[in-house]
Amino acid sequence: MKDALIWTLVVVMLGAGLWFFHVSGTFLADGDYLAGLLHIFVGLASVKAGVELARLAIVSRIENP
């Protein structure tokens, strides 16, 4: 149950990252580089949080098989 919740959060964080990357792409494609760069940073932060959660889930699996 705990693992399922963590992996759900991982999917949500990574999905949010993908969304921010897509939005940043639209800003970059329209020439608004500052907005695009800021959205890239937000997306990277979201992905990093998701990756850390995934690390927690992997370690939790080995400790509680």
Binding site: W7, L14, F21, H22, G25, A29, G36, A54, I62
Partner: protein, 235 residues
């Protein structure tokens, strides 16, 4: 080098050689027929070849089958290699990227450990998201997010902005894929698998022995019964 890195590199190579040119051709082929459905199907051909290549690491798959699997789509739709796709400075840059990607593929394949020599690697990268293995394809999704933004949502006639967008997407996807997904997640998964195998081997060496248990239990019961009979049980 992990299989995840090789899978990501192979997917990027197929995207550069087939996926992006096909998407670009769809946009710029204004007065010409759009690519046929068969071309899109043939574009998916490298995927099973890549899975076979990454799983077996044998040269017949990595150096022959996977590269050759790109040819049918290029033969059926020769415009994928033509001036409609590769023209001007951007086309030259795209060709350079493809050459670099192919060179990286060959170098990493030649440096890959032989399957018979090395310890078996964790197959977690093929597993569902629960093992963290599915995340190896996440950098491709990142690149796709940027590419769709550049090709689908951008204003036609502004190629400079689209190129910056795709280049940014490649940089972000590369950073996330190599540093975070492969460097932190996949290696952690492999380390845990290795530790699990070491622990299992240790348990086998120092395992409980039924023969020793029954031998000593039998001796204790027999000797104890004898002593009870000789010294205390007989009245």
């Amino acid at each position: 080098m992990t299989r995840g890195t090789l899978a990501g590199l192979g997917l990027g190579l197929s995207a550069l050689l087939l996926g992006l040119p096909l998407a670009h051709l769809e946009r710029v082929a204004i007065n010409e027929p759009t690519p046929a459905v068969i071309v899109y199907l043939l574009t998916l051909l490298p995927l099973p070849a890549l899975i076979a290549a990454v799983h077996s690491l044998h040269p017949r798959f990595t150096l022959f089958l996977f590269p050759v699997s790109h040819l049918p789509a290029l033969v059926v739709e020769p415009r994928l290699l033509g001036p409609l796709v590769y023209s001007g400075g951007a086309g030259f840059l795209a060709q350079g990227l493809i050459c670099v990607a192919f060179a990286l593929w060959i170098v990493m394949v030649l440096r890959a450990p032989n399957r018979e020599d090395s310890a078996p690697e964790s197959p977690g990268w093929l597993a569902a998201l629960g093992d963290g293995g599915g995340l190896v394809y996440y950098p491709v999704a990142i690149l796709a997010a940027f590419v769709t933004a550049a090709l689908a949502d951008s204003t036609p006639g502004a190629p400079g902005h689209a190129q910056v967008t795709i280049l940014s997407g490649a940089l972000v996807a590369g950073w996330v894929g190599v540093r975070w997904i492969d460097g932190e997640l996949m290696r952690l998964n492999q380390d845990i698998e290795r530790k699990r195998r070491m622990f299992a081997e240790l348990l086998v060496v120092r395992r409980f022995s039924p023969s020793v248990f029954w031998t000593f239990s039998g001796v204790a019961f027999a000797l104890g019964s004898l002593l009870a009979l000789v010294y205390g049980g007989v009245t």
